[in-house]
């Protein structure tokens, strides 16, 4: 028996209750905290993106005493702001056959049958509440002329269920949550702590009771106590160095939690997004995403012949290969992200890539402009077209866009149960930083949905259930040995990083790590490569701790020091990503093991041996993590070979 208890509600016979009524019934079964007592409980929320801001705001409204931490200068800067395309909900406003069950079904199937059905069903259920809540906050969703909400389609679905606010849906949803948060700040229910980076979790007798932060402006190390700690710190795509994540996105909070006992799940499930602008040179600092929504109207193609150097407009129709439409006639350009990415890699590897470095494929709007007219297409995508032109100097309405896959999202993260609690009592993880809802592949427009579902509609209930029996438990006090010990760890590490004074910059090591992960643990993986990476990463880590150069002091704003701490953690997490990928000798969603593919080259799962969540337990510095398995059962969506043909 595994030590993992997913806490999915069971009936008296120990069977899971019916999924359709599970969450409603469970809300009734969970313990409540009396409204007058909520103020006696303090909650720390780390991160102020969609998940963190919505959770902090909602808990403030409920009456809890909330402290929200962000390393940014304002909660509004969190990287949720950059999400472009949209947010899914099962409203069925189009009358095209959508339902909660269909959104649930699509998400489980899109995740390649590696997610927990109970969590996914709940996500689909609350999706509709999110749209209502956001609209009530004044999120300016796109409208039709009659004033009703507009929808668009997204990859992996055959219904039109995605709500959007131009190409800035993440921005508008985050501003909605941020404004709700600031309203609670004004009401005195939430205190925001800006420029504070969480560097450790304080665990007292197995319970998370606080955090240690470094003030990024003054360098001061501070202690903070609460009755519960919530991490909402996003994903770890920046382990790859080049990704679509913001520069400061990092895994330090979840990695420190992992080292304090939180199991890390499905580390190898990383999503390589199919539509980013290809890299142009080696000094590039990040990759820029072009929203997947572009695949609604753009057609993806490469020249049929290898080495065709003609300008795209000079290549006649019959010498173009619209490879997604050819291979997947029913989904066409709207296949799920993992399928679209892998196929782009295949044609580029064949030598049919386009652009100066032959590292992209075309995304062509000529047909859409002819069919719909320039104005309609411009209205839908103008900000994306402008962004593309600013970066590349090319006008995508005249010449097809060039796109290529880029690391974008991580389905893996801290293992959580049905209550979104990690394996550390009192430590919750919400949004991208947990592993819960997307299985091995996330569908487009589902990240915003999950972040807000967790923050607005799930955690505020489950945290009450956790706190209900802890009413007069008292404080542990900031002088407690556990706080002093955790602070000492943080202080010593900072000092150590500053003292190495080696010969290479932090970025150098980050780039090297990124190369290893991209080559061996990227869009396609195999045993030889993974074994090689498992040797190279620890060696690189050793070199980092011997030769990194971090100038300046710890008592002031020092971006090199911040980066050094984050890269040090990526150097540990990267090894776990590889270890997890090596363990999973099957292909599933974003994890493609070359050893495990169908005759047609599609990902082939091995349900008999790998239908589990891998949850890794920290065993100490220099030790390999121990693997625990949460078995997955599918009662409602029978596993099948995914087919988008």
């Amino acid at each position: 028996m595994s030590v993992l208890d997913p806490k999915v509600p069971l009936d008296d016979d120990g069977n899971e209750v019916a999924i359709q009524t599970m969450w409603e019934d469970h809300k009734f079964d969970m313990d409540l905290v009396n409204p007058a007592n909520k103020r006696k409980f303090s909650v720390i929320v780390v991160g102020t993106g969609l998940a963190g801001a919505s959770a902090a705001a909602t808990m403030g409204e409920l009456g809890y005493d909330v402290d929200a931490f962000t390393f940014h200068d304002s909660p509004r800067r969190a990287h949720s702001i950059a999400a472009q395309g949209g947010i899914n909900a099962a409203k069925n406003y189009r009358g095209d056959g959508d339902s909660i069950f269909r959104l649930f079904y699509d998400t489980v199937k899109g995740g390649d049958f590696r997610s927990r059905e109970a969590n996914v069903y709940r996500l689909a259920q609350v999706s509709n509440d999110i749209i209502d809540q956001a609209a009530a906050q004044g999120v300016p969703f796109a409208r039709e002329y009659g004033g009703m909400l507009a929808n668009r389609s997204f990859g992996g679905a055959q219904v039109s269920r995605t709500f959007y606010a131009r190409g800035q849906t993440g921005q508008q949803l985050l501003l909605g949550a941020y404004q709700a948060l600031e309203r609670q700040v004004a009401a005195g229910k939430v205190r925001t702590h800006t420029h504070k980076e969480m560097l450790d979790i304080v665990v007292v007798d197995g319970r998370a009771r606080g955090i240690i932060c470094r003030d990024l402006i003054t360098g001061e190390i501070t202690r903070h106590e609460a009755n519960a700690v919530v991490l909402a710190t996003g994903g770890y795509s920046n382990a790859f160095y080049l990704s679509t994540n913001a520069m400061a996105c990092n895994a330090t909070a979840i990695w420190r939690a992992h080292r304090r006992g939180a199991f890390f799940a499905n580390a190898c499930y990383t999503q390589i997004h199919p539509t980013a602008i290809p890299a142009s040179d080696e000094f590039q600092s990040k990759l820029t995403l072009m929203s997947e929504s572009l695949r609604n109207d753009g057609r993806i193609w490469v020249p049929t012949e290898v080495g065709d150097d003609r300008a795209p407009s000079d290549i006649p129709e019959d010498e173009r290969d619209y490879y997604l439409e050819r291979k997947y006639p029913s989904f066409g350009n709207l296949v799920p992200r993992d399928v679209a990415s892998r196929n782009a890699k295949i044609v580029v590897d064949e030598g049919r890539g386009v652009g100066p470095l032959k590292n992209g494929v075309y995304l062509d709007f000529a047909d859409a402009i002819e069919r719909l007219g320039f104005d309609v297409v411009w209205d839908r995508y103008s900000n994306l077209f402008e962004m593309y032109e600013r970066i590349t100097g090319e006008d995508p309405t005249k010449r097809p866009m060039r796109i290529f896959p880029a690391p974008h999202y991580t389905m893996g993260g801290l293992w959580v149960d049905y209550h979104l609690m990690t394996t550390v009592d009192g430590l919750f993880a919400i949004g991208e930083c947990n592993f819960s809802d997307h299985g091995a592949n996330r569908l487009g427009a589902s990240a915003l949905m999950q972040g807000l579902a967790d923050g607005y509609f799930v955690l505020p209930y489950t945290i009450g259930n956790f706190l209900a029996d802890k009413l007069n438990e008292g404080e542990v006090g900031l002088d407690h040995d556990a706080f002093a010990a955790a602070e000492e760890v943080v202080t010593a590490r900072t000092k150590k990083l500053l003292a190495i004074d080696g010969s290479r910059t932090v970025d150098h090591f980050h780039r090297e790590l990124g190369k290893i992960l991209w080559d061996y643990c990227g869009m396609a993986r195999n045993e030889d490569g993974l074994v090689k990476a498992l040797g190279e990463i620890p060696a690189l880590r050793e070199e980092f701790w011997a030769d990194v150069k971090v100038p300046g002091s710890g008592a002031t704003l020092n971006s090199s020091l911040e980066k050094a701490g984050r890269v040090a953690d990526f150097l540990e997490l990267g090894e776990l990503m590889v270890r997890d990928a090596l363990d999973r000798n099957e292909s599933a969603g974003g994890h493609f093991r070359e050893e495990s593919q169908t005759d047609e080259g599609e990902a082939k799962r091995d349900d008999e041996n790998y239908s589990y969540v891998s949850a890794w337990a920290w065993q100490g510095q220099g030790e390999a993590q121990e693997l625990h398995k949460e078995p997955l059962a599918f009662r409602y969506v029978p596993p099948s070979q995914r087919s988008y043909k």
């Binding site: 919505s54 906050q137 800035q168 501003l175 700040v185 000094f283 600013r390 910059t505 150069k549 090199s560």
Partner: protein
């Protein structure tokens, strides 16, 4: 490309700063402005110097973290473009570029090119929201909003809170930022109930930190999201109404 940079260096808020000169050599024309600074910093670090601190994060022009004065212009020479989206092909080989932080008394300098923009959060706290608790909402399609209204609200809501409007203003005024949020919420039926309280309250906090607007229009020119100063006119109109209305209801 080879460039000469004059960069404002200041160790902290209470110490005097000064310009330092750096040579940025072998810069790709395809590099972004911040990638050029990354490269300069990487070389500074290898020489044992402290890198130039500047705010940045998403590098997609949406988080609003970045923003410096480039040759005296917020976010540099390209209209509608945040610093992170500015590319070096905009400059010519051999150019001298002067780089400074936002200069406004409402935004004190933290270090080098980094400034403190927390007054913007305080303006939002003063009413930049709709009072609706989680779970109180009705079905979203029960409130119909004409497309033109939703589009106009979205034009205003596109503000990224970077502060270029304040930096561009000779008076250091924050009218464009404040009016953009007011217009976003006041135009929509959801924000209508609190329209006048919101307007008076947010303007009050704004005036406690920032200068006064004299309709110079520099803010609109500098705005990376090209937000229109028409929203300032809308705010002024609402503010006058609010003053009468709120006095009557007081």
């Amino acid at each position: 490309m080879n460039l000469t940079l004059q960069v404002w260096r200041q160790a902290g808020p209470d110490v005097p700063g000064s310009f330092a000169t750096y040579e940025a050599t072998d810069i790709s024309a395809d590099a972004s402005f911040l990638e050029m600074l990354d490269l300069v910093n990487e070389r500074l670090v290898l020489d044992g110097d402290e890198p130039i601190e500047f705010s940045h994060d998403c590098r997609e022009g949406i988080c609003g973290s970045c923003g410096v004065m480039i040759n005296g212009v917020p976010h540099g020479p390209q209209r509608g473009t945040a610093t992170c989206q500015l590319h070096m092909r905009t400059f010519a080989d051999g150019d001298e570029i002067v780089i400074e932080p936002w200069r406004a008394s409402g935004f004190p300098i933290v270090k080098d090119l980094v400034v403190d923009r927390s007054p913007f959060d305080e303006i939002i706290q003063a009413g930049g929201y709709v009072t609706v608790d989680t779970g109180q909402a009705q079905d979203a399609n029960l409130t119909q909003i004409p497309k033109e209204t939703a589009d106009l609200a979205m034009d205003a809501a596109a503000c990224i809170g970077c502060g270029a409007c304040v930096a561009a203003c000779p008076n250091g005024a924050a009218q464009l930022f404040t009016s953009a949020k007011l217009a976003h919420l006041n135009l929509l039926p959801q924000g209508d109930a609190e329209r006048y309280e919101r307007t008076e309250s947010m303007v009050g906090v704004m005036e406690s930190y920032f200068g006064s607007c004299t309709n110079m229009g520099e803010c609109e020119t500098a705005c990376p999201k090209e937000i229109s100063i028409d929203f300032i006119a809308m705010m002024n109109k609402d503010y006058v109404k609010a003053k009468f209305r709120n006095r009557r209801s007081a």
